[in-house]
């Protein structure tokens, strides 16, 4: 309890709204700032303060249980409520930490990626995207979820398109993402419409109570759930709906790729969990069928096929993007198993994957920043020219594969145990097989970087050109974090595991 004194009481009373309002308003301020370098400082301090607040809330829910905030003092179900519980608090903390690390990385990378004139609007769009993601996770009102989903999506389209200064293909990628994302959001809101028709409320807790009273409801709520799954599936990049993701990740500015890869899909997975387990209930027969056949089926196929696709990519960013689709498969598999150990494993992998992919994409961004390279063949000899960056990339890569003493290992073992508990031996086989494929696509890059020789420049072969500190810092924080989870240093590993178990217990009944 002594740690609670680090945080003013105000944070526990008003923190939930503060987490959305601060980035949203500062986004509007940043857009009209006259001084361009100030935009970075404003963005940095906003993410710093949000991280601090999210950490305070995170601690609070473990000591004192969940927080309910009523917007404008209107009590639910009529007003909009914000909920911080064991399920949403870790994701809130994850999003704000990743946003902060991305902003640190963004200072050097903006110089080469974003035109000076567009930097203030860029940071404004980043802050609004951040606010949207926080809002999606924190709100307890189903329609409000849609609003924040759109807030974050629309700013994401803009951010992806800003890669055009570097690579014109980002415009096509952003347009493709815009179409797919809008279809997803539309499906989601149609689903909400059906749910509203069935229950007559938009408050999630109220909806859940009415649905369980109706024992799952009529065909209307079944159709509603179907629409919601497809809409969220597009945002998650669930296997057959993932086609927007590789291009958006590959051609967006590198810092946006980092931020999206580690937060946007994660927030959407959170919504899937929220709707499937707390608004609906896995005990309804149609939800059980969906989980068993649709979600688990998509997970299995995605894990294998996307991994294969990753092997055959020549661009490292696309390798990692396809790998993200495969890793989403792992998370969905855990969700599909739907036991408390399966959900905990999926949730843990969600957190771990965000850290791992953040680390990998930051190092790829650093390679691009120094040498302008993204192709696998260009990685030749990178271990000699950028040893520290390549070291972080290797840590991330090993963790992605699931080598012992890394974060990836912890969550994959938990996932395998959860599958074995249910005697789903085929799922165990697929997890192992997909990990072998990960060895191939990560190993391919690492082998080139370690054993290849650096290109000759003016006759001399060896030039050391390490990434700037502002890039090394976030990538090593994440790299060491994944090791710390793997070896349970300072109890970090146990902290993550218990956070995932609490989240699973929230999903399977009762707010923890």
């Amino acid at each position: 309890m002594s740690s609670m004194s680090l945080f003013p009481q105000w944070i526990f009373e008003q923190g939930p709204a503060f987490l959305i309002v601060l980035p949203l308003l500062m986004g509007a301020v940043t857009a009209i700032l006259p001084n361009r370098s100030m935009a970075w400082w404003v963005t940095f301090f906003v993410t710093l303060i949000c991280t601090y607040t999210a950490f305070g809330l995170f601690q609070h829910i473990y000591f004192d249980g969940f927080l309910l905030y009523t917007m404008g003092g209107w009590a639910p179900p009529h007003g909009i409520s914000l909920i911080v519980d064991g399920l949403s608090a870790p994701i809130l903390l994850l999003i704000s930490v990743m946003a902060m690390l991305t902003v640190i990385y963004a200072l050097p990378s903006s110089i080469s990626e974003i035109e000076p004139k567009k930097r203030a609007p860029f940071y404004a769009a980043f802050l609004i995207c951040f606010a949207g993601l926080m809002g999606m996770v924190i709100t307890g009102d189903a329609f409000n979820v849609f609003v924040f989903l759109e807030v974050s999506s629309i700013s994401t389209y803009v951010l992806v398109a800003m890669g055009a200064a570097r690579d014109r293909r980002s415009l096509a990628a952003a347009y493709n993402y815009l179409i797919m994302g809008s279809i997803g959001a539309t499906f989601f809101v149609i689903g909400l419409g059906f749910l509203f028709m069935e229950t007559g409320t938009l408050n999630m807790a109220e909806m859940s109570a009415i649905l369980s009273e109706l024992n799952g409801g009529t065909r209307v709520s079944k159709v509603g759930y179907g629409f919601i799954i497809v809409g969220l599936g597009l945002k998650i990049a669930m296997f057959p709906l993932h086609t927007w993701l590789p291009r958006a990740y590959a051609y967006a500015p590198t810092k946006i790729t980092i931020f999206l890869a580690s937060t946007a899909t994660k927030a959407a997975i959170y919504l899937l969990l929220r709707f499937t387990f707390t608004v609906f209930d896995p005990s309804f027969d149609y939800i059980a069928v969906m989980l068993k056949y649709l979600i688990m089926g998509a997970a299995i196929v995605g894990m294998v096929l996307a991994s294969f696709q990753a092997i055959f990519q020549s661009d490292v960013r696309r390798v990692l993007a396809y790998s993200s689709v495969a890793q989403v498969g792992y998370i969905l598999l855990g969700i599909g198993i739907a036991t408390s150990s399966g959900l905990a494993a999926g949730y843990l992998h969600l957190l771990n994957h965000a850290i791992i992919k953040g680390c990998l994409f930051i190092s790829v961004g650093a390679f691009w920043y120094r040498f302008g390279i993204t192709r696998v063949s260009d990685f030749s000899g990178l271990f000699k020219t950028m040893p520290l960056t390549m070291g972080a990339f290797t840590l991330g890569g090993l963790s992605l594969v699931g080598v012992p003493f890394t974060a990836g290992f912890v969550s994959k073992v938990k996932l395998i145990l959860a599958a074995a508990e249910q005697e789903m031996w085929w799922a165990v086989l697929v997890i192992v097989f997909s990990s072998v494929l990960a060895i191939v696509y990560i190993g391919r890059i690492i082998i080139v970087a370690y054993f290849g020789s650096p290109p000759k420049i003016n006759g001399s072969t060896f030039i050391k050109n390490e990434a700037p500190f502002m890039m090394l810092f976030p990538m090593w924080v994440l790299g060491l974090m994944s090791i710390a989870i793997g070896v349970n240093a300072f109890g970090i590993g146990d902290g993550f595991v218990s956070a995932s178990e609490i989240a699973a217990s929230v999903l399977l009944g009762g707010r923890g």
Binding site: A17, F18, L25, A28, V29, A31, I32, M71, G72, G73
Partner: protein
């Protein structure tokens, strides 16, 4: 040289102030009936757009400079959010207008007016921004091709 669009120009010059006035009527009527910041914002923007259609984009940009547009978009959001921040400072929840006056009912009244003004400001400028963005894309229509 006589102007071929003299009737259009004279009539729309009459109309523009009335459209703007109607926008404000809708804005303040929104307090207790159908209407409000969003609808009023669109109507107010349509006054500027009509002016731009008749007198040309350049004239409209002189009357309503693009720099206002950017500031207006942000300040609308800030006016809305600032109301919430004010309720925080006064010790209430975010956007709980009741604390804005001694009588909570009056507080609700002031709060909604401030918030709706924020919406008006943002919606008007965003509408005009969209029109300016699309209008600037192609060359002006030739006088003979009307």
């Amino acid at each position: 040289m006589h102007d071929p669009h003299v009737i259009l120009k004279v009539i729309s010059k009459f109309l523009v102030p009335f459209i703007a006035l109607f926008a404000f009527y809708v804005q303040f009527h929104g307090d207790f009936g159908p209407g409000g910041g969003f609808q009023a914002g669109v109507i107010l923007a349509s006054a500027v757009i009509l002016y731009a259609l008749i007198f040309g984009l350049e004239a409209a940009k002189k009357a309503f400079p693009p720099s206002w547009v950017r500031i207006g978009m942000s300040s609308g959001v800030l006016l809305y959010g600032g109301t919430g921040v004010l309720t925080w400072i006064l010790g209430g929840d975010f956007l709980s207008y009741g604390v804005l006056a001694h009588d909570p009912a009056h507080g609700q009244h002031y709060g909604i007016i401030a918030v709706e003004l924020g919406v008006l400001c943002s919606v008007t400028t965003v509408m005009i921004a969209i029109f300016y963005a699309f209008g600037s894309r192609q060359p002006e229509v030739d006088e003979d091709n009307w």
